[in-house]
Symmetry: C2
Subunit: 169 residues, 2 copies
DNA sequence: TATTGTTATACTCTATAACTATA
DNA sequence: TATAGTTATAGAGTATAACAATA
């Protein structure tokens, strides 16, 4: 086994004792992302499409707001929404207060797909954390929340500061 | 605030108390993935290219083995390695024991880029977990390791069962 | 003038299927 | 025959730059 300071970010290592925070978070991210990708694919979606539907679950944001949520260029969001709309998963509606803006909302068909994917993801996560104790799971839930909140605050796209009703005037 | 059982996977919510394990892990994954994407982009890489370099840090796996690590089709890995090789970040070498196989290794240039990205990621993670207590960070490190190990075991691509020397005969 | 969204373009990433070369 | 890797093809995802419509 290599000493712990010989560990490398972004790569699997041969030390089961502890990956360390940096490698652990990177590997954890790849693992969960892989789960998301498999479930999305099983429902004919990409991870980003699934994430789009999740955001639209109880919001009707504009293209610009979606770009903020997803951290993508607005032109990328246009294409994303184009493809989802072409499959009947979302729809566009011109804003009544600003003729330049478009509000995107989820269709019944899209919501059905989202519910299926959501349910499957819940099951997979349960498997993923099966080796953790209940206390460890609670800890993970709390720390994840803290990190996500801090990250949103730092990026200026604080998800906790945005009520669904704010994006649907 | 909505009750906790009204939370939705894959989407931001307006409840700072606790996202729950499922949403928390999903959001955490998006946050860390976003950090990885930004750092990779700052170094002219995609997340997958950065991950490829990370895997090659102390291994010379075959295309097939890379496909297993990255959970991609081998044809996708061919293209991935093509582009990285075209940029001088990795190189191919025919296996001496099996004329069909190719071993991929990182170049000095690729390692330099990897080191920069690795360092930047470490800093960003430090910022990301700045709001956690030292104990919470330790907990997160341990639980991440457990989850990653279990996931690898379950997928049959247990990273802890693979010593670097095994992929370089 | 500034902002919102789209279009045009180009590249990366990915999978499927068919292929070549080796075992 | 089976396996390792590549190629051809097609589509999704992404960003930059230029554009139209609206504010």
């Amino acid at each position: 086994m290599r000493p712990s300071d010989d560990r490398a970010v972004l790569e699997p290592v041969a030390n089961e004792a502890d990956l360390g925070l940096v490698d652990g978070l990177a590997q954890l991210t790849f693992a969960v992302h892989g789960v998301l990708a498999r479930i999305a694919a099983a429902n004919g979606l990409s991870v980003v499409q699934a994430r789009l539907l999740g955001i639209l679950r109880d919001r009707q944001p504009t293209i610009n707001e979606l770009a903020g949520f997803l951290q993508l260029d607005k032109s990328s969001v246009t294409g994303l929404v184009d493809r989802a709309e072409g499959r009947g998963l979302v729809r566009r509606a011109r804003s009544t207060v600003d003729g330049r803006s478009v509000h995107v909302s989820i269709t019944d068909s899209g919501r059905c797909l989202l519910d299926q994917a959501t349910s499957a993801f819940g099951s997979e996560v349960a498997d993923l954390v099966a080796d953790l104790t209940a206390a460890q799971r609670d800890h993970l839930s709390v720390t994840s929340t803290i990190i996500v909140a801090a990250d949103g605050r730092r990026r200026g796209t604080d998800i906790f500061a945005i009520e669904p009703s704010q994006t649907e005037p």
